[in-house]
Point group: C2
Chain length 334, copies 2
């Protein structure tokens, strides 16, 4: 018999149908035959090929060496208004609304080495990646043009990645999407009801109950959400209340990097480098300091296919209980 | 430069970035080498293999021959409460809510022939498929246990289909998903503002403007939505206002079947049998007769990959303008 659970924050329901499950280890991909090299002649993100990318926006250096580079996406979905002579004004073409494609679409190159990856990087390097996320978020949030900043990572082809060299992306949009507004509204309503942040309440419960807990340090916890939408769905969240990613203190990037490295390593070893997306879910920058929302990083492995039912209903059919995933990840030695 | 458009009904924004586009015809898949046979010994949906499926729920017959069969899904995500001794009651496991997996999960086998497909079927057979959709929708809507009924079709592996034999599915859920409720609420708000159905207004505009129109007959139109979320996104909608799919009159199933067959044929020939999902988007059965919503069938070809940005923001990056898709589909001879 299946169980249906509601996510406390989004109010979305998930159906758990364990009978449909493959066993957790069936998700292992074929062994990757190809050994990746540290340098590829035609990879625009490799050290030595800097001339192949658009002009650098930001970098973290050590002496003459870059460690992390941020560059504009070569095929940007959105661009700064100065570059394209545009405005954030909304236009009406009766009965529809539209606007110019203003924004920023950036690539964060996580390492000069082609065959590097977050699970095997030194903690210092993962920390630099987080520092780059933070710095670009802070800088972009100074512009009134950008209403939402999304930082995300696509790992593997199935997750939508087209280039192998380790990288994340950032998109700043000139509007708040209704999907995000709805989430904020639901959290606001929870705050109106209970007078507390819904994520703070979840953290408190998950720390007490511990069956979905995956990792914990002084500042962050990682857990499998009660209503996980896919197998091995994971949330990494600061223990202290902070609504917006730009509130992450400079002296806590390392602690966040540590949580991320450990959780991704566990996924890497347990499931043999699965394809996944992760996203930093935060309030828009102008909602920094809000009491009802709480930024976090969400990991969504791409082990299953979203089909007609998910698309039509917004409801996911998940085939593994989060308690099982959390236990396997806790037990996985790295 | 990209253009961002808002969907009038859902308030969702879509970014149109034509620079990122592949040319429409690049989406063609590799020629399929394998010739499919009419009968496969081990396919549970083929004529002659009826003993391999669970007990039939409904069928359309001609003499001794079945034309369309409806059977329970062998791996159901949801089941009737009588079968699993459960209730629709919500439980609280502080701070979370959950409930039993009550519902119905059915398969509509669209033809006895393994190598049949909606574009090549006779119109009588497509009509039988629609009649089966309608009859199951009407029957299930009599139960108070089921609050939403989703009918959908997954075409091809990328679209989440695991069995090749042509079939659709139906899932009845014991709750209204927040995704659906939000859509209904937005349409209600539009009705409160303008006193009209948002979809009726769209139909009126698309029929006048015609640049996104793909097909029209006496009772239905097919068009590419203004803020299409993916390339070749198509909506087929009744011209007459009807909020719930169960309001489709018996004497209009043929006209609906005709629209569907023609639109799918155009997709088939233009893009070489692309993977796609389609979903019937309708009010819950107990909202039949509402003035603010309008049922329709939405087709979403799976030519692109949903990645971190789409997941985190709910915003899609589309690479082809709907006007281009509509023109190519209009011009495609079948």
């Amino acid at each position: 018999m299946s169980i249906i659970r509601q996510d406390l924050a989004s109010k979305d329901w998930t159906i758990f149908s364990t009978e449909r499950a493959k066993r957790p280890f069936d998700y292992k991909k074929e062994e990757k035959k190809q050994v990746k090299k540290e340098y590829l002649k035609n990879c625009p993100f490799c050290r030595g090929n800097e001339h192949m990318t658009p002009k650098e926006i930001y970098s973290i250096r050590q002496g003459n060496d870059w460690k992390v580079r941020v560059i504009p996406n070569k095929f940007p979905a959105l661009q700064a208004k100065e570059l394209i002579k545009a405005t954030t004004e909304r236009h009406i073409k009766e009965p529809y609304l539209y606007m110019d494609g203003i924004g920023s679409h950036e690539v964060i190159i996580e390492s000069p080495k082609h065959n590097d990856s977050l699970p095997i990087m030194k903690i210092e390097q993962v920390d630099r990646v987080i520092q780059a996320y933070r710095q670009r978020f802070i800088n972009l949030s100074k512009s009134e043009d950008y209403q939402l900043i999304i930082i995300f990572r696509n790992n593997g082809k199935i997750a939508g990645s087209s280039l192998e060299h380790p990288h994340s992306q950032l998109v700043a949009t000139p509007f708040v999407p209704s999907y995000v507004r709805t989430k904020l509204y639901e959290a606001q309503r929870y705050f109106d009801d209970f007078g507390t942040c819904v994520y703070c309440d979840m953290i408190k419960y998950e720390l007490k109950n511990r069956e979905r807990l995956i990792y914990e340090n002084d500042n962050f916890i990682a857990f499998a959400p009660f209503a996980s939408i896919v197998p091995y769905n994971i949330i990494i969240i600061p223990k202290k209340h902070m609504s917006c990613f730009l509130e992450l203190p400079e002296n806590e990037t390392r602690s966040f990097a540590h949580s991320l490295k450990i959780v991704l390593s566990k996924l890497y070893y347990l499931l043999n480098d699965p394809d996944y997306n992760y996203v930093i879910d935060s309030t828009p920058p102008d909602k920094s300091g809000e009491r009802h929302y709480h930024w976090h990083l969400e990991i969504l492995p791409r082990l299953t296919t979203r089909a007609g039912f998910e698309i039509g209903s917004g409801v996911y059919i998940n085939t593994i209980m989060p308690e099982t995933c959390a236990r396997l990840l806790r037990d996985c030695k790295i």
